[in-house]
């Protein structure tokens, strides 16, 4: 299994703790943050593939955090997590570029699949960008061919 780098953001310490243990056990590299601000801080040093972000938190709320993350690290996939279903929040999240939207309590298997999907998409996107860069370089280097 590829070691996916996950950043867990939630204001419930107990939740973070247990989920951290379970994901780590499955070979993922996990970091935790207790708030939106902390998450942004963590992302500076920790290059995450996927961020699992609680929507409703004290302080900076989830949607703001999502927006800021996407601004700074557009390639990082963000999965929204919420205690209750609210369509408008979900839609807003997807608009802002969230990968998916999950309800608490989450089915663990689902979570794993989604995390994998998200990391795969991120890898694919990076691949594409890399390929484009390479192509560009090739084109730049080959004017002499003609």
């Amino acid at each position: 299994m590829i070691s996916i780098k996950v950043l867990l953001v939630d204001d419930e310490q107990n939740f973070l703790c247990t989920l951290n243990k379970r994901l780590s056990k499955r070979g993922m590299i996990v970091e935790v943050a207790g708030s939106g601000e902390e998450a942004l801080e963590k992302l500076e040093s920790f290059v995450a593939d996927v961020v699992l972000l609680d929507v409703k938190m004290g302080g900076m709320d989830g949607l703001t955090a999502l927006y800021l993350i996407k601004q700074k690290w557009p390639l990082v996939e963000v999965m929204m997590l919420t205690g209750h279903a609210r369509v408008e929040v979900a839609l807003r999240g997807l608009e802002l570029g969230a990968f998916d939207y999950l309800m608490k309590p989450v089915d663990f298997k689902d979570l794993l699949y989604k995390l994998e999907d998200a990391s795969m998409r991120k890898a694919y996107q990076e691949e594409k960008i890399l390929a484009r860069k390479r192509n560009k370089q090739k084109i730049e280097q080959s004017p002499t061919v003609y």
């Binding site: 939740f15 247990t18 608490k104």
Partner: protein, 581 residues
């Protein structure tokens, strides 16, 4: 809510208003029109009477003048000598009777000694001595004399016309007796209505004509009446005088129309009882009275039944309104719960999520095997965590239940501080997500208030929810203070939110007034609060500065010595419940 006497009063007020409003115009019209009509009618009746009297007045005068003139002609033409001859006198008399009907009963010549020397007529009156008769004395003075009616020698009412003649140095008197019956007819025929009649009376009060009924009893009164008329200087021919007096003999108010005839010697009296003269008017008046009475009864009955029906309808609709109010409060409560739901759902899903994850973790560890590392310990820790999260769930549901119970309006003695704390805890989660910091400053010295705890809960929940909404983007600080002031418990709920514009300040307690977008607020919250606080006998005031914040101040009367059901309910229990959000 109102007592039955209120509705009785309402019905009474309505009834009197209806009666007054319907009666007043009816009464006024009847009165004014009736008055106008009666004045016009009376004038007409009196004018008619006057005309009648004047006409007969003239008739009588002209009758007398005519008779006098005829006798004078006779006197001029005949001469004493021809009258002295009884046969000749009879011829003359017969001629008179033939030409003038039976008006001239007899004809006679009287000498200066008062002895009738010649006579023609149905009575044997030759040689009758008239020396002492009033008329004989009067004719010597006046030349021509028409006597009053008297019985005379023949014992039969009659009156005479006497003319003084002079022949051969001697005075003679030619006299004729006029038929009283024929004369009587002149006035006897005046017969109007039931009591209207006319008669002629002389200055002494003797009847000159026979009244239709016996009037001897009325003579003194009539005399009085005539005497009274003497005072009038304008008593000349052609004038009638009307007097309305109580006729003592009949006891009825009677109209007397008097007019002088025969140069004021006689007076024609026309009399009619007022009620008879104005009988048509009285009939009309009676009719109006009957209509007024029936209308009045109708209006009163209608007013009575209608007002009772209306009052009953008002009572029913008030009852419905009260019920509706209760439903509105209930609905408002549900709306408040709805607002809470978002926070609650998140709140309850958090521990559930933890429990699910812990359970998953245990499964992971079991899959790995209990003997490895310190998995046993880890499982134990996880179980403890699950238990504590379960307790947290229970707390949340209990908290919600304490509020979501049906509203119980029973008044109880409520410790306000506890209730405020309970509501603050209920809202804390919501406040946290809205970045609102709730500060409470609760005075220990405040007295209990007498109120329905569930209604008070609603008051505080609504106010706190509103405050949090007012600080929505950005958050702020919510200060809740309780203190005593002059025996009144004051609760201040002050936020640092957007404030309320002055234009809206007067309307915030109106039902359905809301500045929230459609579907977000019912506009009932503050109006429900207002209703509840008012019902308690308390008050609510609001101070607001735009962009600085709003301060709602509740004045709640303290329970004092008021005997109220001691609350054995969930309030104290909730206070001791360990709550953690």
């Amino acid at each position: 809510m109102s007592s039955p006497s209120y509705y009785q009063g309402l019905a009474k007020t309505m009834m009197f208003t209806i009666i007054l409003v319907s009666f007043a115009p009816l009464f006024l019209i009847t009165l004014i029109v009736g008055y106008q009509y009666s004045v016009a009618y009376k004038e007409k009746v009196v004018a008619h009477m006057r005309e009648l009297v004047l006409k007969h007045d003239q008739n009588v005068d002209s009758y007398l003048d005519e008779k006098v003139a005829e006798i004078l002609v006779l006197a001029d033409m005949g001469g004493v000598a021809s009258f002295h001859d009884e046969a000749n006198l009879e011829v003359l008399h017969n001629s008179l009777v033939r030409r003038h009907g039976s008006d001239f009963v007899d004809l006679g010549l009287v000498n200066s000694q008062g002895v009738q020397v010649a006579y023609s007529g149905p009575f044997k009156l030759r040689d009758a001595n008239y020396a002492d008769a009033d008329w004989f004395k009067a004719v010597k003075k006046h030349q021509v004399y028409v006597s009053d009616v008297f019985l005379g020698l023949r014992g039969f009412p009659h009156f005479i016309i006497a003319v003084l003649l002079e022949a051969g140095g001697q005075e003679w008197v030619l006299r004729t007796t006029l038929d009283f019956i024929a004369f009587n007819k002149l006035v006897e025929n005046i017969h109007v209505g039931e009591t209207g009649m006319a008669f002629i009376i002389n200055r002494k009060g003797d009847f000159q004509t026979t009244p239709r009924r016996d009037m001897t009893a009325e003579v003194p009164f009539l005399k009085c009446l005539i005497k009274g008329q003497n005072g009038h200087l304008d008593l000349v021919r052609g004038r009638t005088t009307m007097v309305t007096e109580i006729n003592p003999s009949t006891g009825q108010e009677t109209i007397f129309m008097t007019s002088p005839i025969k140069n004021g010697n006689w007076i024609m009296v026309y009399q009619q009882e007022t009620s008879d003269a104005f009988s048509d008017l009285n009939q009309a008046r009676n009719l109006a009275a009957v209509i007024l009475l029936l209308g009045g009864i109708g209006i009163t009955l209608m007013a009575f039944f209608m007002s009772r029906r209306m009052a009953r309808k008002v009572e029913v609709s008030d009852l419905e309104k009260d019920m509706m109010n209760e439903q509105v409060i209930e609905a408002g409560k549900l709306a408040s719960v709805g607002e809470l739901a978002a926070g609650i759902a998140h709140e309850i899903n958090n521990p559930v999520a933890i429990m699910v994850e812990e359970a998953g973790w245990i499964q992971d560890l079991l899959d790995e095997g209990l003997d490895k590392f310190d998995n046993k310990h880890e499982i134990q820790r996880a179980l403890t965590q699950i238990r504590s999260q379960g307790t947290r769930c229970k707390d949340i549901t209990h908290k919600l239940l304490s509020f979501a119970r049906k509203i119980d309006p029973t008044i109880k003695r409520v410790a306000l501080n506890g209730l405020v704390q309970e509501m603050v805890l209920l809202c804390e989660q919501r406040a946290k997500f809205a970045n609102v910091h709730i500060k409470t400053n609760l005075s220990d010295s405040i007295q209990d208030v007498a109120a329905s705890p569930s209604e008070l809960q609603q008051v505080f929940l609504n106010l706190i929810n509103n405050a949090i909404d007012a600080m929505d983007p950005g958050g702020g600080e919510l200060n809740i203070t309780t203190r005593m002031d002059n025996g009144v418990v004051l609760v201040s709920i002050a936020d640092t939110g957007c404030g309320i514009p002055k234009a809206n300040l007067s309307r915030i307690f109106d039902p359905f007034f809301t500045t929230k977008p459609v579907g977000k607020g019912t506009g009932l919250g503050l109006s429900i609060i207002y209703g509840i606080v008012n019902k308690m006998g308390g008050g609510i005031t609001v101070k607001s500065v735009l962009d600085e914040g709003t301060d709602f101040i509740l004045q709640l009367p303290s329970a004092g010595g008021v005997e109220v059901v001691q609350s054995k309910d969930s309030i104290p229990r909730l206070l001791t419940t360990n709550m953690r959000i």
